[in-house]
């Protein structure tokens, strides 16, 4: 069994430790973060070692690595650690949940994560270091570049293109053939129907708070008795 070291001690690291331990061919042996970020010597019973000297304790020839950082600073934190780990000589592993729906011939790079219920359709290309959260759908003939983060239930339609370092929010929709430019942030629930500008932040109208409390309105909203 291939042994790996996880970069990070945040909830993202704990989540990926769980996923790798329960649903992959990898064994997690340690965590690593920058020396000044180390608060505890152990996490989940495993050692936490300084990233500055991780290669001497867990040499890249024997151990793989996974950078378990979500989308901080538009994915740049993860990207930086990804590049440093590569420079140290580590092979970065990807996790694809056994409960995700993927097809034979899937093209996906290193340090990717494809979570439960995500659905990656045929003829799709995913770059390196891209995280696909639960139930996201990536349509056929679409491209998701490096260092992206697709949140829960995001839908990328056929022929769309998501360029590097984008954050695609929960339940948002990228329509057919649209290109989302580098480093965009698309907020939860947004529908993107034309190409976006680089580093653009796209948000949605806020919901409308009604003037009556829910117990007064219930019989109006729920037409059928449920």
């Amino acid at each position: 069994m291939k042994k790996i070291v996880i970069f990070g001690t945040s909830p993202a690291a704990i989540q990926s430790h769980y996923d790798f331990t329960n649903d992959s061919g990898y064994e997690v042996v340690a965590f690593t973060v920058d020396r000044n970020e180390i608060k505890e010597k152990e996490l989940l019973g495993l050692p936490v070692v300084p990233f500055e000297e991780v290669e001497t304790i867990y040499p890249p020839v024997d151990f793989g690595m996974f950078i378990a950082v979500y989308f901080n600073r538009v994915n740049k934190v993860r990207m930086k650690k990804y590049e440093l780990a590569k420079a140290k000589g580590y092979t970065l592993v990807s996790y694809i949940s056994s409960k995700a729906i993927v097809w034979p011939g899937l093209q996906i790079g290193e340090n990717c994560m494809v979570c439960d219920g995500a659905n990656i359709r045929p003829f799709t290309k995913i770059g390196n270091d891209t995280f696909v959260m639960p139930c996201a759908v990536i349509g056929h003939d679409s491209v998701v570049a490096d260092h992206c983060y697709l949140a829960i239930h995001a839908v990328i339609l056929a022929g769309a293109r998501v360029e590097s370092c984008c954050v695609i929010g929960a339940n948002s929709t990228i329509l057919n053939g649209v290109t989302v430019a580098r480093e965009c942030v698309i907020s939860a629930g947004a529908v993107i129907n034309s190409d976006t500008q680089q580093k653009g932040v796209y948000t949605v109208n806020q919901p409308i708070l009604q003037p009556l409390p829910s117990d007064k309105l219930a019989n109006v909203l729920f037409k059928v008795q449920v």
Partner: protein
């Protein structure tokens, strides 16, 4: 094993071919389109034959057909070829992907496509020639009439009547106990709370582009470090 001729050479047909090729119950033997639309003699490594003479090459007694056209022309193009293929005597197959979660009492017609991860709840009736894209959820006591197209991750709640030729975009929500008129187009991300009339078109609010680039906003939007 059923031998299938696919109508179409679009990306939708390519995906249908890919899908059926990974199911041991089916063997796709050829593609067919109208003679005027034949561009190459082969598609996905299989012959492309003129629809006008498909019955002599692939007789309806031995071969079945799937009209694999997406929603072009409000589903009218697929409906026309569906009718023509029936006239030629073909049995049109309905394909339900094994990862779909389908109630045992589902009533469904021919030339339907239920893609990966679709959920069909009990007491649901689906007509002929209905295409349902990955991850859509169809509620109980709902009736989807002929020639509809339901996009990725769309949610159709209980007791909905959907008249023929409707196009339901990705990530849309159709609330319970209402009727969608014939040929309605519901754009991606729209929430429909009232019944609609024939041929109505609904579009989501466009996203709001914030005045700051993503690297300036990241710290504000992502309050918690993860």
């Amino acid at each position: 094993m059923e031998k299938i001729v696919l109508f179409g050479t679009s990306p939708g047909a390519k995906v249908a071919h890919f899908t059926l090729s990974h199911d041991p119950s089916y063997e796709v033997v050829a593609f067919t389109v109208d003679r005027a639309y034949i561009e190459e003699e082969k598609f996905c490594g299989l012959p492309v034959v003129p629809f006008e003479e498909v019955t002599t090459l692939y007789p309806p007694g031995e071969y079945k057909m799937l009209v694999a056209i997406a929603a072009s022309g409000m589903n009218k193009m697929r409906a026309r070829k569906y009718a023509e293929a029936k006239e030629k005597g073909y049995t049109l197959i309905t394909y339900i992907h094994p990862t779909a979660i389908v109630a045992s009492d589902l009533v469904i017609g021919d030339n339907c496509m239920i893609s990966e991860g679709v959920i069909c709840r009990p007491f649901l009736t689906i007509g002929n020639d209905v295409f349902i894209m990955p991850g859509a959820t169809l509620g109980h006591d709902t009736l989807i009439k002929d020639h509809c197209f339901i996009g990725n991750r769309a949610v159709v709640m209980g007791a909905v009547i959907m008249e023929p030729f409707c196009f339901i975009g990705p990530n849309t929500t159709i609330m319970e106990d209402l009727t969608l008129g014939r040929e309605c187009l519901i754009g991606g991300g729209v929430v429909i709370q009232e019944s609609t009339q024939e041929k109505e078109v609904y579009k989501a609010n466009p996203p709001i582009k914030l005045p700051l680039p993503s690297d300036k906003l990241a710290k504000i939007i992502f309050r918690k470090r993860v």
